[in-house]
Symmetry: C2
DNA sequence: GTCTATAAGATGATAGAC
DNA sequence: GTCTATCATCTTATAGAC
């Protein structure tokens, strides 16, 4: 039974878009209300406080992102391809309205967030880092690529690169910027793979 | 004649700190006033609107950062060392209160910024990118390191990595995180250098 | 569930005294 | 230059009708 999207989901969708484009401190219940054609008081019925909304949104984002990572592992056996698909997730996000990663934006604003929201942001980065560590270690074991030092360091480097690429591309106001950067990162990985495979 | 810091400068300092830690949309004239022990109306005398304040702050940051880059070139002839000192600038910023690069934070919020502020942010990234391109090309010519593709791509990658490292370190709420990441980046450059020098 | 009405506080900004 | 006083507006949030 395909249910119509609930109002609560529509609110989360609108809030996510607003935060990805403008930030947590630059959107209001009014903005969401206008986007959905309802009144801001109605939103309080579904999410009593902005803290509730933020925490549930971050938790949903974290959960759905984790599911996408699981889907990559399930559908793709090769470690290099897994990393490329990982990078694609960020690129696809940025393609639409130059949106940032929700948790990347919230992370920049973390000093202003209620603890319940900040905790989910931290969880998102820990989840993602752990997933990358697993992919990197498996890929190294399978000789699909080589890198020095702990996989954790490499994972953080990769994550920082993708989050940062979105920010820099925004600052330069150059939509194509991220595309070329992701492409370049890919290019820098492939030779490494080729080298290791030779 | 060493003049005491003017009120205008003190306002810019306070505003910069607030934006680096909280963001443009999370600070008010009142916050600055409280930090300086004055009234918010006094700030309007120096900066009539928040747009004025933001634009002049971003312009000052851009100018001072450019000066730091010039100082690196002047004081350090080696391209690899120049890049390491460049990375140090970001690390030093983050060391204090996990502050982000001012323009990194503004870049995330760029959709909400007045055009005068956004233009300075864009200028900051263009300046920095151009400086990196020059250092990278000179270093490649001098055989201090090697990389494939245009220097511009490499410059953007490096800039994205450092900006992103700050964001990710914030999200993980791990102050030591950035230190290790910058260290890892440095480690990944050195072998490359050693390889090229062999 | 959604609405109207309303509250209390914050915000950017201005007028005018000192 | 800095102050007090004041503003219109926005923001999160609640009460209560429908």
């Amino acid at each position: 039974m395909v249910q119509n999207k609930s109002t609560a989901d529509a609110i989360l969708d609108a809030a996510q878009r607003l935060i990805q484009t403008r930030g947590y401190n630059a959107f209001s219940y009014r903005d969401i209300a206008q986007a959905l054609g309802i009144r801001s008081a109605s939103i309080h019925y579904h999410f009593p406080t902005k803290t509730d909304l933020g925490a549930r949104l971050a938790a949903r984002y974290r959960r759905l992102f984790r599911a996408e990572l699981d889907a990559i592992v399930e559908g793709e056996p090769d470690a290099v391809e897994r990393l490329l698909k990982f990078a694609d997730l960020f690129q696809q996000t940025f393609e639409v309205e130059s949106r940032l990663c929700l948790c990347g934006m919230l992370s920049a604003e973390i000093a202003t967030l209620p603890e319940g929201v900040a905790a989910e942001v931290e969880g998102f980065f820990r989840d993602t880092e752990a997933w990358l560590v697993a992919v990197l270690e498996e890929g190294r074991k399978a000789k699909r690529f080589s890198f020095s030092g702990p996989a954790k360091e490499q994972a953080r480097l990769l994550l920082a690169l993708l989050e940062g690429a979105m920010v820099v591309a925004r600052g330069l106001r150059d939509r194509a910027h991220f595309r070329s950067m992701a492409g370049n990162y890919i290019a820098q990985m492939k030779p490494q793979t080729a080298r290791a495979a030779r």
